[in-house]
Symmetry: C2
Subunit: 122 residues, 2 copies
DNA sequence: CTAATATATGAACAAGTGAACATATATAAT
DNA sequence: ATTATATATGTTCACTTGTTCATATATTAG
């Protein structure tokens, strides 16, 4: 395989398929965007968080309840909810000493559903 | 917080909200499914793979071209394509000594698009 | 056959991650 | 104020992950 010059945007001798490579390069995601998108999927890419999101897609739950539902300690759940919040996948609502969590919007429910569909074979 | 009995499906003294917890538990994803779903998202959760998928969503590319497009070594790209293949996110087609990759189906394109939309704020 | 090219794979290592534990904060009840 | 409850956070550690380097396989050309 030829050694490629990644530093130039000009399409010179890129493997065999200059046109393809040139076009693809022009349309490529910038690092920043790829990073952000990956970040979102990464948060979705953990079984505990998938379970939490799935539970929240049905109804609003407080931390304590999530903990009970998925059978995991309060601390672990709180950590995970923080990550989910950071990725704007869930939102929270304070009520006295309790905090109620739910999905940030219906978008998230869709994303999750598509992931599920892909697995149950799509 | 009360100590919970995770070993029983019977709803006894689960925090304050027995009903919610009981329902949520009944509808919860089984570990196996949560694992599979997370696995898929986990594969989507890496900037390099996001870039690869995005490039492939536009046109079929061979390994060499992907390598050139995203500016990363052939070995690294090959490893990533293997993971993507394992998650049925891409498919491949052999032609002589070259292997052409493309998205496994339009579903994947949608999943990716939804992730992008969520980031560009949805 | 041998050489060259395209891709795949194995090993190793740095960097990142999730869970558990201890502890901190915040609110409510007495 | 003191105690109890609900949640959040900091730290630690075993484990995973992505890249690189070296090498293997496969296909084609000569």
């Amino acid at each position: 395989m030829k050694q490629l010059d990644f530093d130039t945007d000009v399409c010179e001798q890129l493997c065999e398929h200059d046109k393809n490579v040139c076009l693809a390069k022009a349309e490529m995601l910038v690092d920043e965007d790829a990073q952000s998108i990956a970040e979102t999927f990464k948060i979705l890419g953990d079984p505990t968080r998938v379970k939490i999101l799935h539970a929240l897609s049905k109804r609003e739950l407080c931390v304590c309840d999530v903990s009970a539902v998925i059978g995991m300690g309060q601390s672990a759940v709180s950590h995970q909810l923080r990550l989910l919040r950071g990725a704007r996948l869930v939102k929270h609502r304070k009520e006295g000493k309790m905090v109620w969590y739910s999905l940030d919007d219906e978008h998230i429910s869709l994303l999750l559903a598509q992931g599920i569909e892909h697995v149950k074979h799509g």
